[in-house]
Amino acid sequence: MTALAGDWLAVGLETDIPLQGARVVKTGAGDIAVFRTLDGTVRAVEDRCPHRGGPLSQGIVHGDTVTCPLHNWVISLATGEAQGADSGCVRTIPVRVDGGRIYLSASALGALRAA
């Protein structure tokens, strides 16, 4: 499954993730939540809510946001910012989809691990 292509690491197929769902990719920098929104956009963010570290990959996906399963913070998948009255941010990881295959940016993951 894992393959190298320049800066891009293949992590799976689009069809591995249900629409409005998420899967986890385990990395040396911690878990990454990879989402697929209703319109098919693939997004990747750290799998840790900025509030109490809840696993965002387990939340309900709506629009381009996810609601954390622990205390209902709503996090933007595009920017990683908490929405509404809450403030906080998770890091986003650049994603490329090519030929049905999902790639994460290796350098971004590296930066995350270094941070």
């Binding site: 499954m1 894992t2 190298l4 690491l9 992590v11 799976g12 591995d16 993730i17 249900p18 629409l19 409005q20 769902g21 899967r23 986890v24 990719v25 385990k26 990395t27 040396g28 878990d31 990879v34 209703l38 109490r52 570290g53 809840g54 696993p55 387990q58 939340g59 309900i60 996906v61 709506h62 629009g63 609601t67 399963p69 622990l70 209902n72 709503v74 994460l104 290796a106 993951l109 590296g110 691990r113």
Partner: protein, 815 residues
Amino acid sequence: MSSKLVVIGNGMAPGRVLEHLFEKAPGAYEVTIFNAEPRVNYNRIMLSPVLAGEKSYEEIVIHDDHWYAQHGVTLHKGKRVTGIDREAKRVVAEDGTTADYDKLIIATGSRPFMIPVPGHRLPGVLTFRDIDDVSAMLDAAKPGKRAVVIGGGLLGLEAAAGLRLRGMEVAILHLMPTLMDRQLDESAGFMLAQAIRDRGIDVITKANTEAILGETCVEGVRLDDGREIPADIVVMAVGIRPNADLGGNAGLMVGRGIVVNDRMETSDPDIYAVGECAEHRGICYGLVAPLYEMAAVIADQLTGTDRHYTGSAVSTKLKVTGVDLFSAGDFTEGEQRQEILLRDAAHGVYRRLVIEKDRIVGIVLYGDTADGPWFFQLLKEKADIAPFRDTLIFGQAYGELAPADPISAVAALPDEAEICGCNGVCKGKIVAAIGEKRLTTLEDVRAHTKASNSCGSCTGLVEKLLTATLGDAYNPQAVKPVCPCTDLGHGEVRRLIVAQQLKSIPEVMQALEWKTSCGCAKCRPALNYYLLSTWPGEYVDDQQSRFINERVHANIQKDGTYSVVPRMWGGLTSAKELRAIADVVEKFSIPTVKCTGGQRIDMLGVRKEDLPAVWADLNAAGMVSGHAYGKALRTVKTCVGTDWCRFGTQDSTGLGIRIEKFMWGSWTPAKVKMAVSGCPRNCAEATCKDVGVVCVDSGYEIHIGGAAGLDIKGTEVLTRVETDDDALETIVATVQLYREQGWYLERIYKWMTRVGLDTIRAQVVDDVDNRRALFDRFLFSQRFAQDDPWEARVDGTDAHEFRPMADLAYAEAVL
């Protein structure tokens, strides 16, 4: 000693007489009511919203059983009076029940007129008069089926709009060239026909029905020009006839209706007639406002005030959502008459006032009816409009001091301006009540003044009055929306899902005009539950709209691990189960094992990836999911009952196990916890559960509506039954009613507070057929629910939920 008052008929008019009577002179009369319909008094003018699915029967009940009990009224439901013996002052019902009276009120109402064309007795020919008619229409109203409504008046249009909303193909046949020809002029009738056609309803005017076709049931309608219109049902809405026969047979003077004088007395001064059966000064009224005025006069007469009824000016509003129409008075043309007309085609506005000698005598408003009450007030006062005639047609806002916004327009109304036409409530009374009784909500105003309590079309005006009087202290959001994605409340969404046969989340969002593309984490789980409980076996559960716990069938913990609770039926376990649990705990290094409050064992700290393997081992020992994570049936806690306890009166453990085995797997609006105690010492703590049973020597007390969480609340006793079979049936029916009516996340005690214990009791205790039907619907839905979700996931269902998509730790190591 109190006098005996007997009332024949239990519609809105006699209901109002009694309300006034009990307010003015409580205890003055001992009241007996005979109702030919087998039920309490309900708001007949709200039948259209019930047909359209915008309201439920329970919401239009005016007086529930409790009200009759409270006022000591004997209500004979389903008993038709067949004779009045005026000599003996006694009435007799068809089953032989009699009642003596000192004063008698006849309120037999009216019946729909059936055009006596061939075929008018065929099955499928219906009328639109009472809740039974609505039920019959709803039974027939399957999407794609055809309905023909004969009569394009108020009732016919409302029936047609309701049936169309239920998905039927609908045609309206109207004898005259314009719809509602008795209330509208041609122009407004034309605009109305257009609006009705825009709803996908076929309007055929100048349609004279010659025959209703069909052999064994309705197949169509033939017009006198030879046209044939196919139909699965035909609704006759061509008019009503007063039910005057009972009065006539008793020798009272009868014209079209039972003739009454200005005191509302018939030709026998001890007998009054009120409502649609009465004829006053040659007029029989069919609208609610005059009936209420008559009712007030009778109540005064009964309590010694000699007030007179002198007739009513009536106005009409059409209760079809989205069509605003108001008419009053007489608008035929005449030599002495002039008209003032305003048309705004772009905005679909039409206003016509008919003026005679500088007085308004007729009003027709279409499109914008906000000024209706103001014009109507001028009409009733016979006000001289000459001073502001030039600007009259633009309405009150323009004609007077030109207040800038609708709130100040309402604030500027004189105290005697009528706000609620149905109940004759003027502005001054409402404002005074808001001040004196510190009313803050629409419901308060309805309860204290009756304004907006009947047809509801003045609700906007009442709300503006609340705003004008209370300022920001009034929050007009009477219905709390499900979430910011919609303005609709839970109750409305539930009803519209049923009424419009909406069967998927995208369909609901489209039809109900959701404001977001795919909802949010609040509304999606709610919609998923509503669809699942409404269309069992048909709707496909949307996993992505479920909270994580229900998606992976375990409880998420603060660190992202899960807890696992297997079912222990009635709290019983065995060496085999305990051994399997012990083995699982060791094998998967589960850090915490704890007893729950519901008599079972919780394993906490299980890693998500391990869940399927943990379940496989538990399954192998015969254990299934305990649904400790779901809005679902949780536990049925029991005591040991007659098996061991020296005080036990019944087999409480056995009943608990039976209930749990019957009901496990069912999804509910919020969690449902139950308990069965073997005696009133109540060791299973049944009286703080959602549903509890307390066994006694003679049988079983069924309790509902307890809480021991955020709120603490003891249960209420729903009923007592003799056998465990009856206990099971009652409990299942109650939970099914809750499944069908409850709002998402609304626990049973909150549901009970909202709909009332009496309403629940009426449906699951008093109405045996209904209880059985609820039980059967639960049984049906269990066919699709009673599979162990753990076993399915051990076998590979939703495997993606439990495995990471990729593990890059190794790949990164080699980078």
